[in-house]
Symmetry: C2
Subunit: 337 residues, 2 copies
């Protein structure tokens, strides 16, 4: 099949390991005949989960042995130096070797980012990788980056983030000429600091559909398709949103507990709110993309269950089918001038 | 009365002018016999609103004439240069002259901040004013600063913000040894940028109850009493939270609209959520404090109605009664040493 894509899955990753990673990945291969899986990890923990697969599905699943596991609290440096036969590292190696079109892991974010950077390297013209995810918003979703791959960004890097966000919005979300905004604060007089002002200037000179500054409340207003910011601000914004969403869901539970009817109302309301809150946890919802690398790397939440992990695998398949890294490369040439 | 405090109110400010400012301020003077009001603005627009006051209340209200009004879109520079007889400026002048213990305005934030800085000056040892407000949180409220008075902050300034937040948490919120956290991101390896790391080091050497780094989701978890950050990050975090809260309230309205019972549920749920959302708009909820100045300046939201404006006036009275600026001065000497 011409559109077939191979996804390397770090089967040992996350809090649940093969229990969620293998189960979630198999759900994708079962329902999408264009997907092939490379399940990377300890065969003795993976293979028992494959015995009941239909033969037609089983032939699209290959187990790739890796003897080590990167721990959730392991330093990126140690992971790179001492865990060369880890499931995380081997999954990335498969992407580097061209055997897989994308890699998915629910492992340690720092180790995954550093290993991916080390193994895959950067797309020429992109200086730093960024973490990108979809935030629920007025008309569906808004992509935001960087969510914390870096603690700061130069104006040039913010422009590169804008190009990458624009490519993902086009290829993965299906937006034409996605609207890109640069996160800033609203004080008219002293609008933003020098880095943001410099990035604003540069963005106006690109071929992107750059609409200018946006504020924090625009992240989920639907005003733009892509919100660009540095990793420090992006990470704080995302976690602040997650925090208040959790607070609101909790408060709702407490609001109506005086009678059975009110308890039911509280239950209905808080489950709806929890749904929104969960969507704010990008790793849990559908995976966060580590963009800017020469290969596709999707980070799933460490606590992801099988259903959540399968979303990350599906996202990997969509990015693979669209060849996101080469699209970024092409877009850099035409848009960023 | 020994505890009597005089509050200067910019009666012409905000979208509604005297309609909300005078009405809201009168509500405070009526219910709190220790408060005196100096209503600053055009007497012809203020006095008709005082005719039905009880004599006992009326004697605690004085009208101070000011012929000009600072427009909401006026530049801070123009406000300072060309509006020397504005209600905003005159209200600040009353604080500088010692005739009022605090000033409240729903006017243009930039103009208020710049004028306050110009008229009142800084507390010795504090380099920059900061905007501080209460965010709803797990166990009541968390104070956060800077919410956007500045676009960046040095490590020294972050320490000064921590001292100021700690004083307000003690004197206004009533916390003993308030817990102070420094906003950072969770990437263990590269935890924060250099400025944050330097501030972290310095904060450990103060006498404050500094508990270390916190992340965005701690703003409303109740883990700390005070969250310290630079004005860019603080403003983005606050507006992001406001945005998602609005999104959740809107979504809830749409969740249950299939039957009359569900409509009622939606109404109950969304009004509870709106309550939380409104609390995220600090100017609207109870006013934001501009701390670090030699006098007390409270900013109410531009769109505040009379009830919201009265909250800002009450906050001004509490800060005045506690002498927040002199407490900050004292705390700087003992804690930041």
């Amino acid at each position: 099949m011409s559109n077939r894509v191979s996804i390397a899955v770090d089967a040992m990753s996350g809090d649940l390991g093969p229990r969620s990673c293998v189960t979630g990945a198999l759900d994708v291969v079962r329902t999408d005949p264009s997907v092939e899986l490379l399940l990377v990890g300890r065969p003795e923990e993976i293979e028992p989960r494959l015995v009941r697969l239909d033969a037609a599905v089983r032939e699209r699943v290959r187990v790739v042995a890796a003897s080590q596991v990167v721990e959730m609290d392991e330093s990126p440096r140690d992971a790179i130096r001492r865990k060369k036969d880890s499931s995380l590292r081997r999954a990335l190696d498969l992407v580097a070797a061209g055997e897989a079109a994308a890699c998915v892991s629910a492992g340690n974010t720092g180790a995954l980012m550093a290993s991916a950077h080390f193994v895959l390297g950067m797309i020429p013209g992109i200086e730093r990788p960024a973490i990108l995810a979809a935030i629920p918003s007025g008309d569906g979703q808004t992509l935001m980056l960087d969510l914390g791959a870096n603690t700061s960004a130069t104006p040039e890097q913010l422009v590169q983030f804008a190009v990458m966000g624009s490519v993902v919005a086009t290829d993965v979300v299906g937006r034409e000429r996605p609207k890109v905004g640069l996160l800033n604060i609203g004080s008219e007089e002293i609008k933003g600091h020098e880095l943001v002002k410099a990035a604003h200037q540069r963005l106006q000179g690109t071929g992107l559909n750059y609409i200018g500054y946006v504020e924090g409340n625009d992240i989920c207003s639907g005003r733009v398709d892509v919100v660009v910011t540095d990793g420090f601000t992006g990470n704080v914004a995302l976690k602040s949103m997650e925090g208040i969403a959790r607070f609101m869901a909790t408060t709702m539970r407490g609001e109506f507990t005086s009678s059975p009817l009110r308890k039911l109302q509280a239950l209905l309301a808080s489950s709806a709110l929890d749904g929104i809150r969960r969507r704010l946890d990008p790793g849990r919802y559908n995976g966060a993309s580590m963009v800017g690398l020469t290969g596709i790397v999707i980070k799933s939440h460490g606590g992801a269950d099988a259903a959540a992990f399968s979303q990350a695998v599906r996202l990997a398949a969509v990015e693979a089918r669209n060849g996101v890294p080469s699209q970024i490369s092409a877009e850099l040439k035409t848009k960023a001038g």
